[in-house]
């Protein structure tokens, strides 16, 4: 690792003060950041340890739930309210990483984890995300993990989170505190920005801003499923994943919110797909049309061509299960 200064912050105000400046990085669980620092993919010259901040705890927030940024993935997955009312979130968390990593990884850090694109990880390779303007070796290279939707000429890396996919289907908001001490809430759907010409910019977080919590509204549907397809049965990133939150209104779909992992530079959702499903009676014909709409602009890059039919099948299978009421 490149040498860095280490500062342990006692409260949010101190963390925001210490976290100012280009070379500073917050560290919580550290499972992704330290990995990247060992490989010199990231080389912060100042680490601000936020683990002692009072950003833990899961509590009621109106009808919903407020999850502190430092709540670990393990604690969130095992929380009784989450297991009962937001099972898609428990399922997504449990489908990610390993027991050891979930014990360290935090809610805020999970949202901000970086892509596992091989070329981003290999500092001998050009990468527009790691070294803006240097080029992209994924295009024309090995693309098994890469995006079929939402990529740009500059970057086709995928966002690796399972947790964020479930949170997107649950219409989560991210609470952020800035250096002026003001807190704002950003819908998770607006939190990630497309890669465009600046794939190094992944979220709307401003310089020195800190995620303090994630807020989940009351779930709008009780039929919740997280489906994940990967290369191993456990401890592997998604090739395609789908979070579904469905509410039935009699024989019809009253509420539909779908989100996808493994196929785009951000946790992916298409509001038109949710709109197509809402108010309709479930049928394979309807699900096929939803898949057509989701994948209308999908583009393979060789090694990930399989994700287009795979995403289609995962979507149809998940909707069949959710609308007939299979358990999460």
């Amino acid at each position: 690792m490149k040498r860095f200064d280490y500062a342990r912050a006692a409260d949010v105000a101190e963390a925001l003060r210490e976290g100012q400046g280009d070379g500073a990085a917050f560290i919580a669980g550290g499972t992704n950041l330290l990995d990247l620092m060992k490989l010199r993919v990231l080389t912060p010259d100042r680490l601000v340890d936020i683990n002692r901040l009072a950003l833990g705890g899961i509590e009621r927030d109106g009808d919903g739930l407020r999850i502190g940024a430092l709540v670990t993935n393990s604690d969130l997955a095992a929380d009784e309210t989450v297991r009962r009312d937001y099972p898609v979130l428990s399922r997504a968390l449990l489908a990610g990483a390993s027991g050891q990593l979930r014990n360290k990884a935090t809610t805020g850090g999970n949202l901000l984890q970086r892509t596992r694109c091989y070329y981003f990880y290999d500092i001998a390779m050009p990468c527009n995300k790691r070294d803006p303007g240097s080029g992209c070796q994924a295009r024309g290279g090995v693309t098994r993990l890469h995006a079929i939707l939402g990529g740009s000429d500059k970057c086709i890396a995928t966002h690796p989170s399972d947790m964020a996919v479930a949170m997107l289907a649950l219409k989560a908001e991210v609470e952020v505190e800035g250096t002026d001490g003001a807190r704002r809430r950003v819908p998770l759907d607006d939190f990630y920005v497309p890669p465009g010409d600046t794939p190094q910019v992944e979220t709307v977080l401003g310089a020195g801003e800190l995620i303090t919590a994630v807020i989940l509204p009351l779930p709008a549907g009780d039929r919740q499923i997280y489906a994940k397809v990967r290369d191993r049965a456990s401890y592997a990133f998604a090739l395609v994943s789908c979070a579904a939150v469905i509410g039935m209104d009699g024989d019809r779909i009253g509420h539909a919110a779908l989100a996808f992992g493994g196929i785009a530079p951000r946790p992916w959702r298409n509001a038109e797909v949710d709109g197509l499903l809402t108010g309709q009676a479930p049928s394979d014909d309807l699900f096929r049309r939803a898949a057509d709409l989701l994948l209308a602009d999908a583009k393979g890059h060789g090694g990930n061509d399989f994700k287009i039919p795979l995403a289609r099948r995962v979507l149809i299978d998940t909707l069949r299960k959710a609308t007939r009421g299979d358990a999460a």
């Binding site: 342990r8 550290g30 499972t31 060992k38 009784e80 297991r83 489908a95 050891q100 456990s234």
Partner: protein, 170 residues
């Protein structure tokens, strides 16, 4: 920089560069070489230790972040003269070949049984809120962060299952 680490009940004063991982502090600064370095990237689990009751990868955390934490390593679980139940079970069931991953397997399995006792579900649990039944599929899923290149997995599962049953009977 100076950090006070509580390891296996004893306090150690560590004077080390901030870059020192908990794993390197244990092995290279404090002589506790039971925890092993495999991949050094959180993928293999050979470095698993138990911090404040939770299993973690010691390679993916900085020693200076653990000021005041309670750390248990394989040396703290048992000794050659007085091994823990899990250690006995790994011997009885031949849960290894070369043994390099074994300290991490045993620390991980020991803390994993606590997670089950607390009712934590896993990816393969049919019911998120029901009683946890520690089937072989559950053991494999919950231990997926520990690799064994000798592939002693069937015997590792046997050792963990036997320990869980023994604890349940007590």
């Amino acid at each position: 920089m100076r950090t006070e680490l509580t390891i296996n009940g004893a306090t150690h004063a560590l004077e080390a560069d901030a870059r020192t991982t908990l794993l390197d502090a244990l092995r290279d600064h404090l002589g506790l070489t039971g925890s092993k370095k495999g991949c050094d990237h959180g993928q293999c689990g050979a470095c698993t230790v138990i911090v404040n009751g939770r299993r973690i990868n010691a390679c993916l955390t900085l020693a200076c972040m653990h000021d005041g934490d309670e750390i248990v390593t394989i040396e703290g679980l048992g000794t050659a003269e007085a091994p823990s139940e899990m250690q006995r079970a790994f011997v009885a069931h031949d849960g290894y070949q070369c043994g390099y991953c074994t300290p991490g397997q045993i620390c991980s399995a020991t803390a994993m049984l606590d997670e089950v006792a607390q009712g934590w579900p896993s990816h393969v649990s049919d019911d998120l809120t029901g009683e946890m039944d520690l089937s072989d599929a559950e053991i494999s899923e919950r231990m997926s962060g520990n690799l064994c290149r000798c592939a002693a997995y069937p015997n590792i599962v046997d050792a963990i299952r036997a320990t869980a049953r023994k604890e349940a009977a007590e």
